[in-house]
Symmetry: C2
Amino acid sequence: MTRSRPGRANLESVAAAAGVSRATVSRVVNGWASVAPELRERVERAIAELGYVPNQAARSLVTQRADAVALVVAEPDPRVFGDPYFSGIVRGVSTELLSAGVQVVLLMAQSDEELSGIERYLRTAPLDGVLLVSEHSSNDPIPAAMIEAGMPLVIGGRPMQPGLDVPSVDNDNVGGARVATEHLVARGCRRVGTVAGPIDMAAGVDRLEGVRLALGGDLPADRVEHGAFTQASGEEATRRLLDRVPDLDGLFVASDLMALGALRALRLAGRRVPDDVAVVGFDDIPLASATEPPLTTARQQTVLQGRTMARMLLARARPDLRLREAPEVPDVTPDRVVLPVELVVRDSA
Amino acid sequence: MTRSRPGRANLESVAAAAGVSRATVSRVVNGWASVAPELRERVERAIAELGYVPNQAARSLVTQRADAVALVVAEPDPRVFGDPYFSGIVRGVSTELLSAGVQVVLLMAQSDEELSGIERYLRTAPLDGVLLVSEHSSNDPIPAAMIEAGMPLVIGGRPMQPGLDVPSVDNDNVGGARVATEHLVARGCRRVGTVAGPIDMAAGVDRLEGVRLALGGDLPADRVEHGAFTQASGEEATRRLLDRVPDLDGLFVASDLMALGALRALRLAGRRVPDDVAVVGFDDIPLASATEPPLTTARQQTVLQGRTMARMLLARARPDLRLREAPEVPDVTPDRVVLPVELVVRDSA
DNA sequence: TTGTATGCGTTATCAC
DNA sequence: GTGATAACGCATACAA
């Protein structure tokens, strides 16, 4: 709190009311053992009566700690917040930080102007560290600024900026796409194509790379179309693909949302799924199990990603905090963690 | 920033480097006029060289200001973030605060545990004020805590807690529902029913009240069904309604999402819209214009609501800030502002 | 166990 | 126009 109303209590006034020194009050507030029960009692009563709450600004000034961490989401489209990917990360981050007694502060940037306001805030505000989730981050000024300011930072996703190396937690987009595509091949598909994501996004690039790895040399340029991770773009890309490769029999679509569009395009083109064309998506959004036919897809562990990011940051920014055991979270000492992506087989492939 | 790395520059070091006093550096940093151009030059160079950034904790400690405001969203379902209602408010709040040089900090509470962490944070962190958006807020501890702590607070929506009066900005749910229902009547509907929202949410209660006002005494209990503001619940409620009142010829649905369900239920029941049953929704979500037929609905001004909330808070918490003119934003001196809701007539009614 | 004293980095009030 | 200097509220090393 900052606006000190006329009557805002502080250590001094509590000390006076309890008839002890400021130091003793401080000890009680911070739970130090070495306080006589009787004094403690008096102090606690005084605190309650005066409604005393410690001033975090003053506390941060001396301790160099803030007990708060910023989670920055740099994304122009406000709909990211409805995205299960994002909400999983937020849930994971919140869970882990809550149990560590650290508050999560969400900062969202929908424009460059807002982004620079956020940058300013990050450099000056009392914060223990920063978590950054941004999809197309190749020209994001924040990583460099944080490094220069000495502010601990962990990135969610694959850092796109060459030169800076920042601790990060990513999903295995390459491996996931590879397994998904291998599933198509194992199923008997001979002419596999893909609706890939945008090439300015790490997830787009990496998933396409996974397809390449799975198919070896067998991915001619005409079997690749790019979409924008939206349903409409997936539908169109699929249509273009079918025009060029009419005998396509397997399709890896780089996101479930695009896969929804792909299913529609296939239906309209008279193809049966999976009999004529087998389809695999990526993300396992809730809708994926409700499509006709239900969608085989690669599932990312978004909550785990959030938890891992949080612990990685705390390990670096607040080594004094002892976190509770969490065997399901990978070791966060290395600067780069990649979480496995699992294939969920349903009827579409 | 809080973790002062070994080399973190402060006023002192900048002053030394520039050969001036701390006071002069402070004047330069804060843009005071009374500094000789030459000194100013030297100071600015030193600042750049040392990468000096003011410490906000120290600054807040003495100024009693923070240049930051919290926007608290108390809602268990993370999907609120995808909700156009919420994203409109965020956009409005952000716009207005950005131009005032105040940072928005988003705090979301998905559980009571998180809510109490947030409450702690709000009382202690350097913050100029708090904006609260919570739909079912009748037992939210935050308003009382903020009042006790003397922290300026503005609520979005209608405050549900008796006793506390807190400045608030609401949409005219009563008026909007009333106009929507009157539209049905004017259209010739004789047996109007409604799918209302939950009774523990102000929007649910108020919209139902609007229907009552429009119909005078003519709303028998069997023409009211309640849904949970979801599509599925809207579909079910409509089905129940049709079972009980087969000759229903007008339907006000308290949210567009529920209206989507209602349209489906009507179609399945073989009713034509609007010929057999005219339908009006509420919210004007993007999907509303894409339904078959396009949905007549009441539109809330969510961005304006956010902007109004922000200005109302700043007027109380930071009267020193001079905001730019904004004729479209209503006067924020009264403690309660209700924004008009406009009927958008499409084909469904 | 308790109290005293110092410093965290700023802003702001004075003299000069 | 500029420079000392006193707060701001707290934690903590040290003395008692």
